[in-house]
């Protein structure tokens, strides 16, 4: 099968859904410009016209409410933000308005809204261009939250999100955009709320979100050379989350490490850890461990950014500690490939 990048898979999903259904439209700050949101929206305006793919004033709050109004009149809006941090300007519309509008209007009001936002990292994105905000959305009843990791999932989950009759917050880590893998050409939907076992293993269960799956897979591969067999699970949909495969895995391994791409305190990792600690109380041979951002604002300088973000090495060190293994020699292993790939400016 042909291989395409995650970014290209997103773009293909948008093209195919706009083609399939004239009620789909795509908009946001900079969406139709010649950079096209890291290339993911390039060509849409040319193909489907400026009424269905358009730029907007810098007005995140109002352009989010806009999506609700359009959905109420039968449209399927896809609203794009170049950074998830900017969603903090739209929380009122997302949480106070969109999340509960179906509930407050009798329960039979389709609200097919997709809010796509990109999680920034590297090259000094700093405190205001690096948030993921997973738990802000998973906390709220009425919102679905989707975080694809692979190109195939990116396309299939975006198509499923667009076709879903509920509001979906769709969060893409910027570094995933460059990953290339096999992606079917024809349109297809991957059902939401299905966790995906990325790697089977018997010693420990690693539950990872978004970019952390890349780190977890890398870690698992290195760990396997040291005789540790890790299972890696990507929930893909963070809300409503499919806990089944996670519980099943922990029942098997007796150990669980949650690796979230967010702050730990009151984050999604807390929910997964609390849930696993509860449902696998008799299976766990040790406490569930959590790894996430350092509890500080994201620093700009690389020297500290490297300590702010967990990576495969963090995961390996945690796992070796959990497995009661001696300190492994990891010299010679390259842990920062994607970060090196990205050389600014933004």
């Amino acid at each position: 099968m042909r291989k395409v990048s995650f970014a290209e898979a997103i773009r293909e999903a948008l093209f195919q859904e706009m083609e399939r259904d004239p009620s789909v439209f795509v908009y946001g700050i900079g969406v139709p410009d010649f950079k096209g949101i890291f290339g993911t929206t390039l060509g849409l305006a040319e193909q489907y016209g400026s009424a269905r793919c358009f730029d907007t004033p810098l007005s995140e709050e109002s352009m989010t409410g806009f999506a609700l109004g359009a959905a109420l009149k039968g449209m399927r809006p896809v609203h794009i933000h170049i950074r998830a941090d900017f969603l903090l300007l739209a929380m009122n519309q997302i949480v106070n308005m969109i999340s509960c509008h179906n509930y407050l209007t009798g329960g039979d009001t389709p609200l097919p809204i997709v809010i796509r936002a990109i999680i920034g990292r590297g090259w000094g994105q700093g405190s205001q261009h690096s948030k993921s905000l997973f738990s802000y959305f998973t906390h709220i009843p009425g919102l679905k939250v989707v975080t694809p990791t692979t190109p195939r999932d990116a396309k299939g989950l975006l198509i499923a999100s667009i076709r879903d009759n509920n509001p979906v917050v769709f969060l893409e880590h910027r570094w995933l955009h460059w990953i290339e893998d096999e992606v079917p050409e024809e349109p297809y939907a991957i059902p939401l709320s299905q966790s995906n076992v990325l790697r089977e293993g018997s010693d420990i269960t690693i539950v990872a979100t978004s970019w952390m799956n890349v780190e977890a897979m890398h870690a698992a591969q290195i760990l396997s050379t040291k005789g540790i067999d890790a299972e890696v699970i990507d929930p893909r949909t963070l809300a409503p989350m499919d806990m089944g495969p996670i519980t099943k895995s922990v029942r098997k391994t007796g150990r669980c490490l949650v690796v979230d791409y967010d702050w730990v305190n009151s984050g999604l990792s807390a929910e997964i850890a609390a849930d696993v600690s509860h449902s696998c109380f008799n299976d766990l041979t040790m406490p569930v461990e959590r790894v996430g951002f350092a509890h500080t604002p994201c620093p700009t300088v690389r020297a500290l950014e490297n300590h702010f973000y967990p990576n495969s090495e963090t995961i390996i060190r945690k796992v070796e500690q959990m497995m009661d293994k001696p300190h492994m020699d990891l010299s010679g292993i390259d842990f920062y490939s994607h970060e090196r790939r990205f050389r600014g400016p933004f």
Partner: protein, 335 residues
């Protein structure tokens, strides 16, 4: 940029049946709220009440002008807007009573009256939050070229909020068929416009935007109706939004069913001034003056009164939602 203003729109051209329909709806909204005032103490409607009383002409005039096909977003002061748009006092009292025959099984209550199918897209308890929603609905109508307009109702207080200014700019920039309807009662809770506004006249600011601007301070439903009809025509032919600033007066406390005429923020001159131009009485007098028989009016009123009684009884005898219903409708069922 075209600017328009009509302090007293031309009401001559309004056909008799429209005049009567306007009165019917005004009377319906007033009497529904009088019923609320009467039975609220019974403690069966456990929901905050932001009463429209005194301000009904705004919702009635605008909703009748945009018609059944039009779309509407209301603020939390939603009673008159909901009733003017839907005339459905059954679902209204059902919702206020928290019963399964309400608009949302009681889950919404007074601040969230809606009837999406009939163009009542929603009401919201967050000041100004319905304004952006109207933009998207207007965009959808424009895409569908269905000739419909959206009216979004909000108070003068809402014009302090960020969302109003962003939305005004967006609507003008995108040339959306939307009516911004400011129900200007001069007050945000207890605070006057003058204490909150950094300009002398809101309409003078808005006139600088690429939209139509209308003003009315008559509290007369026909004036508001005529002005809105004029606005709609131009919105559709000229392809730009309109801003309607309609002065009016709130009779009751900001939230609740009591009169607060003696509260420190009120003035009795103002109270007298506005009650002398009560919108329901004005329209009733106009009908009488125009030759409608008193009996005909009384009959119309009696019919409405008994339908309201029926709505209240229906609400009271409808079931409360069952506990399991708590979990229904968090997500839409079809995926």
């Amino acid at each position: 940029m075209t600017q328009s203003s009509a302090r007293q729109a031309d009401t001559q051209a309004i056909p008799a049946e429209v005049s009567i329909a306007l009165y019917r709806t005004l009377y319906l909204t007033r009497r529904c709220e009088e019923m609320i005032v009467k039975i609220y103490p019974d403690d069966e409607m456990k929901t905050p009440m932001h009463m429209s009383m005194g301000q009904e002409a705004v919702s009635v005039g605008v909703c009748k002008a945009i018609g059944q096909d039009g779309d509407v977003l209301a603020s939390y002061r939603s009673h008159a807007t909901y009733l003017a748009k839907t005339e459905n006092s059954h679902a209204f009292f059902g919702e206020l009573h928290g019963r399964v025959n309400g608009t949302a099984n009681g889950k919404g209550g007074s601040m969230h009256l809606a009837d999406v199918e009939n163009g009542m897209l929603g009401s919201t308890g967050i000041v100004a939050a319905g304004i952006p929603v109207a933009l998207g609905a207007a965009y959808a109508n424009k895409q569908k070229q269905n000739g419909r307009v959206v009216a979004t109702f909000f108070g003068d207080g809402a014009t302090d909020e960020a969302a109003f200014w962003e939305s005004l700019n967006i609507a003008c920039s995108m040339k959306l068929p939307v009516l911004f309807v400011c129900e200007d009662n001069d007050l945000a809770v207890h605070t006057r416009k003058a204490e909150r506004q950094g300009f002398a006249s809101l309409t003078d600011v808005v006139r600088q935007y690429a939209c139509l601007v209308y003003e009315d301070d008559t509290n007369d439903v026909e004036s508001i109706y005529a002005l809105t009809r004029a606005a709609i025509n131009r919105v559709l032919t000229e392809g730009k939004p309109a801003f309607l600033n309609i002065r009016t007066y709130r009779y009751l406390e900001p939230c609740g069913t009591a009169m607060d005429t003696d509260a420190p923020y009120r003035s009795s001159e103002e109270d007298t001034f506005w009650k002398n131009r009560d919108c329901v009485s004005l329209q009733r007098e106009r009908l009488l003056a125009s030759g409608v028989q008193k009996d005909a009016i009384t009959e119309l009123e009696t019919t409405i009164d008994s339908s309201i009684e029926a709505s209240v009884s229906a609400a009271k005898s409808a079931a409360h939602p069952s506990p399991e219903m708590l979990y229904d409708g968090v997500f839409h069922e079809k995926g």
